[in-house]
């Protein structure tokens, strides 16, 4: 038996009264009466979780519409396993269908704009959606312009694959088609970017594929950062122990130019030829956030009030996930977006009922990275609100890293994915 299962929710919604599934909620509405509408833009780790938890925690009293442009959810976390060949696209793809059982109205459409003054979301195919509060979980978009030659034409062959989906499958195909003895070049932008350890995990899993299938091939990492930005000693140990002579790492090596025809990338000092070029550009909050006037920091990220995730620029709009100007030591991770979503859902319900958001939020992060098909490592942290600095800060003495790579955490990493996908999607 479980907490608030779908069945329980349906039963409760039908009866119009709270079941034991909502123990702890003292106030029980006599009947389901809608107190307002929340539109959620973006069905990723942040948006889908927010939509579901708004429905559950408001006991169905808030109408929730989720706008997502893709048919299915494709997970960035675990997508490096597809590149390594141990999983396929179906393993990292999930349906939005179960969200409907919680009363979330899932609308497949493209948002063309947000009119925050009139509280309306404009859509490409459907009519405008009026809202009382808006949740925006737009993810990231890429600053291709920061790299010379990375134009629309070049983007057809030089992939970033930093949003899971067609580019994941396409990069896998490039790796499969590469000759043995070829060079795979991975370019990493300066932090902050989505998923700090992700590129290093990718290097490991591509190398693990090469080791198996194309043992004379090489992985060249060109990192704009001075050193590995996350789990450094753990990744370096894996490169040395598991992939000796196969992975070359260069720090302070920002790619400034790409030449798709010649198959080269260049830093300020050197030019490198590769058979597969995987260039991850610098990133900023997704285009929708930009259009809605939510970007407040460095022309890139959305500042939020960490008690509610409400934008510091636009009232009534809550921003989640990678698009936010991260709190200190807070990674841009799927797990973090999932936690942002619950913080926001709780706050929105209070605000829409004329009460205040909790003044003591707490969220936590566990982020797994595979270093091979069989072994993984983690970094974990717990974040609480500091009223003086008005931000979330890591709890001293809590959190930390794996002492060494191990097989148990490869099992837990896959378990995490199954559980968090279920937490957000049903």
């Amino acid at each position: 038996m479980t907490g608030f299962s779908r069945r329980e929710f349906l039963k409760m919604a039908a009866a119009g009264a709270a079941s034991t599934a909502f123990a702890g909620c003292a106030a029980v509405p006599e009947a389901k009466k809608t107190i307002g509408r929340v539109v959620v833009i973006g069905g990723g780790f942040g948006g889908a979780t927010a939509a579901k938890y708004l429905r559950i925690w408001s006991q169905g009293t808030i109408e929730v519409l989720l706008v997502e442009r893709n048919t299915d959810f494709v997970s960035c976390p675990m997508s490096n396993l597809v590149l390594g060949g141990s999983r396929d696209m179906t393993d990292i793809t999930r349906s939005y269908a179960k969200l409907r059982d919680y009363g979330v109205q899932v609308i497949r459409d493209e948002v063309t704009g947000v009119d925050a003054g009139n509280k309306r979301v404009k859509l490409s195919r459907n009519q405008d959606l009026p809202y009382d509060r808006l949740v925006l979980s737009p993810g990231i978009d890429f600053m291709h312009d920061a790299i010379e030659g990375y134009n629309a034409q070049a983007q057809k062959t030089i992939l970033h694959s930093w949003k899971a989906g067609p580019e994941t499958a396409a990069l896998r195909k490039q790796l499969e088609e590469m000759k043995d003895g070829g060079v795979y070049v991975l370019s990493i932008p300066l932090a902050p970017y989505r998923c700090p350890p992700g590129p290093y995990e990718r290097a490991c899993l591509v190398a693990s594929y090469f080791k198996r299938a194309k043992p004379r091939s090489k992985v060249l990492i060109l990192d704009a950062n001075p050193d590995v930005t996350s789990k450094g000693p753990l990744f370096k140990a894996a490169w040395k122990d598991l992939y000796a002579g196969m992975i070359e790492y260069r720090g302070n090596a920002a790619v400034k130019t790409v030449d798709a025809k010649a198959g080269t990338v260049a830093t300020d000092f050197d030019t490198f030829r590769g058979d597969v070029l995987n260039v991850i550009p610098p990133q900023r909050a997704g285009d929708i956030a930009k259009g809605a006037g939510l970007i407040t920091a460095n022309n890139r990220w959305c500042g939020v009030d960490w008690l509610s995730m409400e934008s510091v620029a636009v009232t009534g709009v809550h921003v989640l996930g990678d698009a936010t100007l991260s709190a200190p030591l807070m990674p841009k991770s799927g797990q973090m977006a999932n936690q942002h979503a619950k913080l926001a859902a709780a706050a929105i319900i209070e605000l829409m009922n004329g009460r205040q958001a909790s003044s003591t939020p707490l969220i936590s992060n566990t982020c797994y990275s595979y270093v091979s098909d069989k072994e993984a490592v983690h970094v974990a942290s717990v974040h609480t609100y500091d009223p003086k600095d008005k931000t979330l800060k890591t709890v001293p003495g809590a959190g930390g890293l794996s002492p060494a790579r191990n097989e148990a955490e490869a099992f837990y990493a896959w378990g995490w994915a199954q559980n968090v996908w279920a937490d957000m999607l049903g």
Binding site: T2, G3, T20, A346, S359, A398, S402
Partner: protein, 99 residues
Amino acid sequence: MRIPLVLAVMLALPLTAVAQGADPNLSRNLAATCSGCHNITGNALAGMPPLTGQPKEALLRTLKDYKEGKRPATVMHQLAKGYTDGQLELIAAYFAAQK
């Protein structure tokens, strides 16, 4: 005399829950931080053990053992240190109350 529902709920909860004061949903919100890894809105899936419906004392003992380093773990000993004993108690009570 009929006891009002709100009071009845408060009486049924441990002192720590009443002491949460400003945030009546504190235990729910704290428990939700577990649910990324331990699915709590459906069946717990591969890997992580289920939390809903666990007896409060057993769950609290496990969490405190993690926090105090008495129970081996891959990650839970690091996460448990981020919560006060009072917060761990709220979490254990919350999951115990779920059916």
